[in-house]
Amino acid sequence: MTARADGAITTERPVFDPGDFELVEKGPVFETFEVGQQLEHHWGRTLSETDAVLFGSLTLNYAPLYTNAHWSRQLGHEQRPINAYFVFLTVLGLSVEDTSERDGGMFLGVDSVDFLAPVYPGGTLTARSEVLAVRDSKSRPTAGIVTWRTTGYVDSREPVLELVRTNLVVRGSAS
């Protein structure tokens, strides 16, 4: 049933015309970035034992530090830490919507990743980024090149990871 403008209830179904729907766009275009800009990223992600086991198993990373809790305790941890590369991917993942999500935003490189402190199951990751560099692309006039430094935090306090990465980002004038 549908309410008409005059308030009457009818049994007509609304007509579906794709042109009536405004696209909720994701990901900024190149022109929106400027050096020094600070970006606070969405959602946060609490890491679980399930994440740790899935990630370690699917990447065949069986280092006992990450797969053997008894061994981790012998190395001085209270419980086994989350694989550092899952922390890296999740901090990067949290930043994507505000940085490199636009289609055509080719990955150019990760300059550095620094693991600053171990992360344990139950910890909640959040991330923020700073724009370090913005420049034109000689080979692709429809895009530019942006470098960000992204920092990951656990429970909104302790920085646990810092990464610097560079991507192509399409220009608004080209999309």
Binding site: L54, L58, P64, L89, T90, G109, F115
Partner: protein
Amino acid sequence: MNAPSPDAVTGPATFFEDYPVGRRMRHKRGKTIDELEGVLLTNLCVNTAQAHFNEDSQKHQPVGTRIVFGGVTASVVIGLASQDASENLVRDIGLRTMKLARPVVHGDTVYAFTEVVSATPIDDGLGEIVFHHWGRNQDDQTVFEADRIVHVRRRPAAVTAEES
């Protein structure tokens, strides 16, 4: 029967002393990267770039199919290399100059290669190693390269070659 000795947790030749500078390792096991790795891990780590998980959206893009998230490729190569290079990992320190030379798509197989770039003792129990890792695909093309920094255990004094 008793449980295995703690000495069995790691192999006998994966301590700091086993990685002289310049040593090159070709790791035996490869892994075919399917949707299981590509899509599941991309979605688990909240990477919202749909080039990694929306096949329809990629039909008219240059590669024409979903591209595996480079972080997944990197993690699989590092996982494969870890079996020989960092069983005795005490701490992951970082990664430098990671490049993805060409796209990986679902169904591609990656193999890992490693060179020891530097090896610096920290104390009696620990050393820092920089590995250069390459990921190569089934067609012998490089798909991933990076330097990885780790802290690994030194061989316990009781079993050093000098003392035995």
